[in-house]
Amino acid sequence: MLQVEHLTKHFGQTNIIDQLSFSIEPGEIVGLVGENGAGKSTLLQLLATISKPTSGSIALHGLSYQNDLKKVRKQIGFVPQDIAVWDTFTVEENMIFFEKLAWNHRSKEELHNLCQDMNLFQWKQRVSTLSGGMKRKLNLAISLIHQPNLLLLDEPTVGIDLKSRIEIGQYLRRRAKEEQTMILYTSHDLDEIQRLCDRVLLIGNDPFYRDSVKFF
């Protein structure tokens, strides 16, 4: 379980996140919505340990972010908004590269299966020749190599076709259910959030988002 209490983040005089508290249960997919600049990416960076909060506490399965940083990081999978893969490598080489640097060992077959589960079949194909959707799937697959309990996705489907979106969504639902992975998902597409998420977390004060997420 992810437990966030009174989380606050300031950048100088600007208050980005103020006294935010929430929790995510294992197997739950939570959508994170809010207008641009509301602090979605900042919150994801705090939860991903990339950035440090001004105050408040975060705990993952009882492990404190402040005191057990290394153990916490082993349980986090972060899917950045940018496609963070080696463009000159093939899909296979990318998976092998990050498996070698991962904490746990995964066989080549397991890596291959991971890609196939996401309908990413271009195993030997160079990334630079893949479509946007395939690149996004690889971006997600790499983040799952070390089998994280908490998966943080920063607009993972931006700019890709509907089929790939649906495939990624289906995979995430399956993963949450089968592996009891906690998923926090940001997107500007409220239809996608509605289709995919169990719950929504609204940050910021934009009335548009307040009205739009009433269906939850």
């Binding site: 990339i50 972060f78 490598f89 070698k100 640097l101 904490w103 070390h146």
Partner: protein, 367 residues
């Protein structure tokens, strides 16, 4: 380290040609340039024909003196053949050491000892003639000294008689010991520099210069990889980003070192150009750390390439004037070329990297 080797191999196998090109550039480049300099030097000798008509000690002495000259290539030949070659401009000029040369020197009869031939294209004739005249004067002067000493000995009824051999031998000894023409000065605290140090272009000079360029350019992987979005992923890997970079830097150091040791063996065995192994090791260490630092500083690849070429050019241009104290102190190649351990640049580069590493670790721990 195994993970670093495997992941680095994934990059290297994609650019094998350029990787080996830059890796082998110092060795292959130095061998090629050295061979080229040798050929050019051979071609730059002026061919001079010499006909020795008598086999005496003084005639041979003159012949050997001409042979030791740095700018002429002596060809001993027959008179008619020498004239034919001169007419065809295969020889720059021809000198005939006539029968009776030794007797003429000994009796101070210095006319018609040598006949010379030149053409309108003989540009080295005057220089060679001056060299021969100078040597004849030197030889003649010694025999004149023999005569004067004997005359003085007879006039003043000296008890000891000096033989011609004794006088000549003593004269040569004094000339060798006193360095009558050449004199050098240095500060009291400064060690005397030997004549053969510093100014010669040896194979290690060429290698050291090319090694700077290749070390810098091979380190471009760091710029390329730090520009990538992939860096974000290193928060969630067993190696942090800075550990990954450092270990890769170390891997390159090991690869370079292997090539350097091969170079060391080739240069030592093939060219008899020795260099201390520790000197080589310290230089390679410094080059790795320095190129790592430069790659850390710059963000744009083309700026990094420009800086790399500029640094290599500056090092090359400043080499001929590295005898100047300040330049010698600042030049990254100076210690290596003097066969000494590179310390200054090594410590500076290591200091910068330690500072960078410490700061990044603190940032990472704080995030």
């Amino acid at each position: 380290m195994k993970a670093v080797i495997i992941t680095r191999w994934l990059f290297i196998k994609r650019s094998m040609l350029s990787f080996f090109f830059w890796l082998l550039l110092p060795l292959v480049g130095a061998l090629l340039l050295f061979a080229f300099v040798d050929v050019v030097e051979d071609d730059s000798y002026v061919p001079i024909g010499v006909i020795v008509e008598e086999e005496t000690e003084l005639a041979n002495d003159l012949y050997q003196e001409m042979e030791t000259s740095d700018f002429v290539a002596i060809r001993e030949t027959e008179h008619d053949e020498a004239i034919r070659q001169l007419q065809q401009h295969e020889l720059d000029s021809v000198f005939v050491i006539h029968q009776g040369y030794q007797e003429g020197i000994q009796t101070q009869q210095r006319t018609n000892l040598i006949t010379s031939y030149q053409t309108n294209r003989s540009y080295a004739y005057t220089a060679v003639k001056e060299m021969i005249v100078s040597h004849i004067q030197e030889q003649g002067g010694r025999y004149q000294a023999v005569q004067v000493i004997n005359q003085l000995s007879e006039r003043y009824r000296g008890e000891s008689l000096w033989s011609a051999e004794d006088v000549i031998q003593t004269s040569k000894q004094i000339q060798a010991e006193e360095q009558l023409i050449h004199a050098s000065f240095q500060y009291a605290s400064q060690a005397e520099k030997k004549d053969d140090e510093g100014s010669r272009w040896e194979i290690w000079h060429i290698w050291a210069l090319l090694a700077i360029l290749s070390s810098l350019l091979t380190m471009d992987w760091l710029i390329k990889e730090k520009q990538s979005f992939v860096t974000q992923r290193f928060y969630f890997t067993k190696l942090s980003w800075h550990d990954y970079l450092l270990l890769n830097g170390f891997l390159y150091f090991v690869i370079w070192l292997v090539i350097d040791l091969v170079t060391y063996v080739i240069f030592s065995v093939g060219f008899d150009e020795t260099m201390g192994v520790v000197t080589l090791l310290s230089y390679r260490c410094m080059l790795t750390l320095l190129s790592f630092c430069v790659a850390l500083v710059w963000k744009r690849l083309y700026v990094f390439y420009a800086v790399s070429f500029l640094m290599a050019c500056m090092c090359g241009l400043l080499l001929p004037v590295r005898d100047m104290h300040v330049i010698n102190w600042l030049h990254p190649m100076a210690a290596f070329l003097d066969n000494q351990i590179t310390i200054g640049w090594l410590l500076c580069s290591a200091g910068v990297i330690l500072f960078w590493y410490g700061r990044r670790r603190r940032e990472n721990a704080a995030s």
